[in-house]
Symmetry: C2
């Protein structure tokens, strides 16, 4: 709807977008802390500070709510990967990607998507914004993986797809939470430990 006062419309649109971003951030934290199934829409509404019915004016279902949060994180991931210097060593970029994921987990902003079959998975698979992001991220990581294997900094015997899955799996690695719960290490130490076990493995390496 166009009115004579364009500013007013723009302002309203901004308010709307700001509210939706607040909703997405709340959903993001809830998804990270308790997961999709345990998160209730009542809870989201309470945390955002609006009525449940108002939520449903913005997002048609709980799945769409969660999908919006997942897309938001996916876009942040894409932005981070795009910010990495193109001339950097592919192995360094892969390490940076894992470290970024760990950082997101430590601040409670990495939504844990259910690896088991769930209504959320179906919603994500038919969400083109999410799938496009996922494919772009996978292509970028896949390129670095093959480049790193070509220059023998990444184990060339591993299928690239297995490496990719292993990297993705860091996003739902429970080791981080366990180590944080133990309270024995700083966040930096935890990231370092997970990075070492991921890239160097558990076995001792000849010095």
């Amino acid at each position: 709807m166009v009115t004579r006062n364009g500013t007013r419309v723009s302002f309203k649109a901004q308010m709307l977008q700001a509210r939706e971003e607040a909703i997405i951030q709340t959903v993001n934290h809830l998804l990270a802390s308790k997961g999709f199934e345990a998160m209730t829409v009542d809870e989201v509404a309470a945390d955002v500070g609006i009525a449940k019915a108002s939520l449903y004016k913005h997002f048609p279902s709980k799945e769409d709510l969660a999908a919006a949060a997942m897309v938001s994180v996916m876009h942040r991931a894409q932005a981070f990967l795009d910010s990495l210097p193109p001339e950097a060593a592919p192995m360094d970029n892969l390490r940076a990607a894992v470290a970024w994921t760990m950082g997101l987990k430590l601040v409670g902003e990495m939504p844990s998507l259910p690896s088991q079959n769930s209504s959320l998975r179906a919603a994500l698979m038919s969400n083109s914004a999410y799938m496009d992001g996922l494919i772009e991220v996978s292509d970028k990581l896949g390129g670095w993986i093959e480049a790193a294997q070509a220059q023998d900094s990444l184990n060339p015997k591993l299928p690239a797809i297995a490496v990719l899955y292993t990297l993705y799996a860091r996003a739902c690695d429970p080791v981080l939470e366990f180590l944080k719960m133990s309270g024995l290490h700083t966040d930096e130490e935890i990231v370092s430990l997970v990075m070492i076990t991921c890239f160097e493995g558990l076995s001792a390496r000849p010095t």
Copy 2:
């Protein structure tokens, strides 16, 4: 209740135990395939072939049902670890433990316990059979970890607790499922790939 016919009581007790084991096995598979939240008691009853109310005569709640399955798996794990030769190299025992876990996952018998807070976690924490098993397994693995580090076959710079958590995390590693879904590898190859990434890491090692 003691009757004159001891055989009859024993037979009834055996039937009871057999039924409970059937229930536990069903719960085990359901926990592995869909997780605690998604599993419904109706479903369990239907798969076992008895009425839901009968289930509740055996187990007082859904949490107890799942806990019984978890205890069962824990006992199988203890039995496997006990079967390993005491004179074997500690590193070999650790590898065997991880391989055993992978095998259980591949046949769909590794229940996925929610890493997030859930009513099941509380039930398990106050289940002494489960906790005792967990502590005994952790002690055994912990001993092997320290021994392997002492003889420099396991990276001595890693805290033992971080290694232990990393091993436990293999039980809910989604890489296995992803690789299996891709259909590109046999079960043996998948186990091999996960073992390599776990113990050798992603980085290339000098030959």
